[in-house]
């Protein structure tokens, strides 16, 4: 009796999965972390628990012999290490799927010009998060490969940046516009 029930159950399960496949449906995957979904598992692991995070202000000028680069962009100013309290906000924003703009939103008609870069390091792995406020996009660079994605948390990111750089002219200008719109 038990054997018969077992066989029937297996048959039933097979039928269910075949039915789903024939109708073009797939079994829903277990929800992945938004960072993993957009940028990959390794990036997600590094961003989730880094051993060190450094921040930089970037410039779009081409690098000279003296200048250094991060994420493929020239460093204008090295801001040094960022505390866990501070970068946890960035982690929080990156990990929220609701902050990623869907494809239907379209593409912004501006160049990707990141102002801030955050280098997350974990052992030998390094991931660079770039924030381009001018086109409301963030980008992640890993193994010299860059993936850009438009975000929907412009105000929160500006506030986060303001927290790190309260006297920055550019950040303050952007925030002024945002406050004016309220």
């Amino acid at each position: 009796m038990t054997k018969k029930v077992f066989i029937k159950t297996v048959l039933f399960a097979l039928l269910v999965s075949t039915y789903s496949a024939c109708n073009g449906q797939t079994v829903k995957p277990i929800a992945k972390d938004a960072v993993a979904l957009h940028f990959g598992d390794t990036v997600a692991t590094v961003l989730a628990s880094p051993s060190k995070v450094r921040a930089y202000i970037l410039t779009m000028e081409k690098p000279t012999q003296k200048s250094r680069t991060v994420g493929g962009f020239t460093i204008k100013k090295n801001l040094g290490n960022v505390s866990a309290t501070a970068y946890s906000i960035l982690q929080f924003l990156l990990q929220d799927a609701a902050n990623y703009a869907p494809d239907s939103v379209g593409v912004h008609k501006c160049y990707f010009e990141p102002y801030l870069a955050f280098e997350f390091a974990k052992g030998r792995e390094k991931v660079c998060v770039l924030l381009a406020f001018n086109c409301e996009c963030w980008g992640v660079v890993y193994n010299d490969k860059r993936i850009e994605a438009p975000y929907l948390c412009h105000r929160q990111l500006l506030r986060f940046a303001h927290g790190l750089l309260p006297d920055d002219r550019y950040i303050n200008k952007l925030l002024t516009f945002m406050e004016d719109e309220k």
């Binding site: 029937k8 048959l11 039933f12 039928l15 269910v16 075949t18 039915y19 024939c22 109708n23």
Partner: protein, 203 residues
């Protein structure tokens, strides 16, 4: 218990088969609108071409050029053709009608013959216009192409040299064929006319 399981299995199997759907041409709304406008323009041009061919104001040279251009709008340039199964089909025809003593007389002619006859029609002046908005059905897949039907009202006015006048209003249907041709990897929709038939003629 066995019965319930078997019924369940049967029910699930039945749902695996997707129902057959009528195959309409999957054009977007915008594409449908563009094609409808195109067909409208083609038909208006065609009716004007008929006027041009029938008019004594135009030279034979011009009329022949118009006929050549008009025939390109028909399947296989107005000649017999083979369908997708290889069967030979008759050339598209034009059905005409004339009212005599209140009675309607119809006649079918191959489109080439009709146009050539029209060049030498006995009227001094011929005017053929589309009097009302074209009704165009949806495009449906038939074999390897798509078809639609268009219904329109046509005003015919023939003037003799001595002032005598013949005019009528005819409801006609025209078969529209849309073939898909692949040229250099691009899909091109080609619109062609088929048979033109009379539904009804009134004075």
């Amino acid at each position: 218990m066995k019965k319930i399981v078997y019924i369940l299995i049967f029910a699930l199997s039945a749902t695996l088969f997707t129902p057959l759907k009528a195959q309409t041409l999957t054009l977007s709304d915008k594409e449908q609108a563009e094609f409808k406008e195109r067909i409208n323009t083609m038909l208006e041009t065609f009716l004007n071409d008929l006027s041009s061919i029938g008019s004594k104001d135009n030279s034979i040279e011009f009329k022949k050029a118009v006929i050549k251009s008009t025939l390109r709008n028909f399947i296989n340039n107005g000649d017999p053709y083979r369908d997708s199964s290889g069967y030979l089909k008759k050339e598209p025809h034009m059905q005409t009608s004339v009212l005599r003593n209140g009675k309607e007389y119809k006649n079918k002619l191959p489109i080439k013959t009709y146009l050539n006859n029209l060049m030498y029609i006995r009227y001094e002046k011929v005017t053929i216009t589309m009097s009302e908005t074209l009704y165009l059905s949806n495009l449906y897949k038939v074999g390897d192409h798509y078809e639609a039907n268009a219904t329109y009202f046509q005003y015919f006015r023939g003037e003799h040299g001595d002032g005598r006048l013949y005019q009528d209003k005819t409801k006609k249907t025209i078969r529209i064929i849309v073939q898909i041709e692949e040229v250099y990897g691009k899909k091109v929709f080609v619109v062609r006319f088929g048979d033109i038939d009379v539904v009804q003629t009134v004075a």
